[in-house]
Amino acid sequence: MRYTRRLFLIVGLGAVATSLGVVAYETGATKHKLLTDPDGENFIYRNGVITKVG
């Protein structure tokens, strides 16, 4: 029982940390519009990588 609780705690904390990490990464990413998609509706540059939006 004690180990199950610890496991839940570790998994929970890990999930929160991962989410925060992803949010921080997303926030910190450099974003540019594409010349071929100036409104950024479908694609953007994220850290130089041509990325599909959504």
Binding site: Y25, G28, L34, L35, T36, D37, N42, V49, I50
Partner: protein, 480 residues
């Protein structure tokens, strides 16, 4: 027959005199011989490299960083075919078309269909198969290049010249200038390295000296001849181009995208005509070399890198955290069409001359905003395709995204000297007409990539040979 300058007879020249023995001159000579037309090539060099002659190719470059001019050219029998790589592909239809969506774009006075009939001759001369292409999506196509062995024109055709009764080759015959009278070139001044000089009187003369020397000889002859060779010289030396090269970023494929095979495991992607017009760019080629040689043999570090690189998000995080130690994917080599602009030009130096007293060339060469835009969009088209289909991703380097200047990485351009004596419908905008005859002259032609009004993205030799065969037939069929 092959002979030396000392045996050059000023009185009895064959009907066609060709200046230069590179792919253009030799292909023309061979075609003329096939049609029974006697001809003579005047080649500045001998059978081998000569420091003294190579020195005459030296010049100055102003603008973007560029190759030393004497490094790109070879002045002896076979010309630049003595050191070319053999990449071949015909130009696309859109390369010939006038583009009203682009500023100051005149296109060619001929169509692709005018050169297509000469593909089989060009394939035979360059020892090539035909090439294919296929649309990957509406904006992107995969194109194929063929690779010539590469043909060395001196090695392949030496016996031909030694035994031919119609094609003659005069070595060590350096052409210094042309003289015109009454709309004809009446005299060619020729000198050997010992500075012995004679004038020969051609019936027809064809300049096949390369993308710098064709302009240089005409510019210099215009100054020293009592009557100019190019009567309206507003465009002479101008609209000069090369194919800019740059490492544009990285690509990682999670699915195989290229279908064509090519030596060295390259795949080539290019914008479709529709995409070029929609995004107002020139032609371009995104070259991707598949696979890291021996990567799988390097052990756990490369295995871990390959695993991380499969996830773009993970690779981004790792790369940001640990710096530039992690490089995912394969380098993208960009090779693209340069905008034909009057500012990019050959002029004659006012202060420096070569060993024969001819002014050295001065090359102004700079990439334009359209050139940078073309490179950026070409990367985007491959990146959009891969991101949209989930078949991989493209990372463009900052200098590509900013589209203002490119750092020099490896090759800065292709040694493809094009323009300077461009073909056009009217002499106000070009130097030669659709048959490569100098406007206003009865007996003077220019052949080679110097006549290209636009460059496409394909290496120029294939088109040069097509033009040579076409000109050979034209000269053979014209009224004498």
């Amino acid at each position: 027959m092959i002979y030396d300058f000392d045996y050059l007879n000023s009185q009895s020249l064959p009907p066609v005199a060709i200046i230069g023995s590179g792919p253009a001159g030799v292909s023309l000579s061979k075609t003329l011989a096939q049609h029974g037309i006697p001809n003579l090539i005047l080649e500045a060099g001998g059978f081998d490299w000569s420091d003294e002659l190579q020195e005459t190719c030296r010049g100055e470059v102003v603008g973007d960083e560029y190759w030393e001019l004497e490094f790109s050219r070879l002045k002896y029998f076979g010309g630049s075919s003595n050191h070319w790589t053999g990449f071949c592909r015909p130009l696309d239809s859109v390369d010939f078309a006038r583009r009203d969506d682009l500023e100051d774009h005149i296109g060619w006075p001929i169509q692709k269909s005018d050169l297509d009939p000469f593909q089989s001759d060009a394939n035979e001369i360059l020892e090539l198969p035909s090439v294919k292409e296929r649309n990957v999506d509406k904006d992107l196509k995969e194109v194929e290049f063929a690779k010539s062995p590469p043909v060395n024109f001196a090695e392949k055709y030496r016996t031909f010249f030694e035994t031919s009764d119609l094609s003659h080759l005069c070595l060590n015959a350096n052409v210094l200038s042309l003289t015109a009278e009454n709309g004809r070139v009446v005299s060619i001044e020729v000198s050997n390295l010992a500075k012995d000089t004679i004038s020969v009187r051609p019936k027809t003369v064809v300049l096949c000296m390369g993308g710098i020397e064709n302009s240089r000889l005409l510019l210099w002859s215009n100054e020293v001849s009592p009557e100019p060779i190019v009567q309206r010289a507003e465009t002479l030396g101008k609209y000069w181009m090369d194919h800019p090269h740059n490492i544009g970023g990285h690509v990682e494929f999670t699915h195989s995208v290229g279908e064509f095979s090519f030596p060295w495991s390259y795949s080539f992607f290019a914008p479709t005509e529709e995409a070029m017009r929609r995004y107002q760019i020139l032609n371009a080629c995104v070259r991707v070399r598949y696979g890291r040689e021996g990567a799988s043999q390097r052990g756990i570090k490369d295995f871990a890198r390959a695993a991380i690189c499969k996830s773009r998000l993970l690779s981004d995080v790792v790369e940001e955290t640990y710096g530039k130690g992690l490089t995912c994917g394969t380098e993208i080599e960009l090779v693209w069409e340069q905008q034909a602009r009057a500012e990019n030009r050959i002029e004659l130096s006012r202060t420096k001359t070569d060993g024969f007293g001819v002014p050295r060339p001065l090359l102004y060469w700079e990439k334009s905003p359209l050139d940078y835009r073309t490179a950026k969009v070409a990367m985007e088209l491959l990146g959009r395709h891969l991101a949209g289909t989930g078949h991989g991703w493209v990372r463009s380097f900052d200098h590509i995204i900013e589209a203002k200047s490119h750092p020099v990485q490896g090759w800065m351009a292709g040694h493809h000297h094009m323009g300077g004596t461009r073909m056009a419908e009217r002499q106000e905008v070009g130097v030669v007409d659709a048959n490569l005859k100098v406007f206003g002259m009865d007996n003077t032609y220019v052949l080679g990539s110097s006549v290209f009004p636009t460059a496409g993205h394909a290496n120029p030799t294939y088109t040069i040979v097509q033009l040579a065969v076409r000109l050979g037939r034209h000269l053979a069929l014209r009224p004498s």
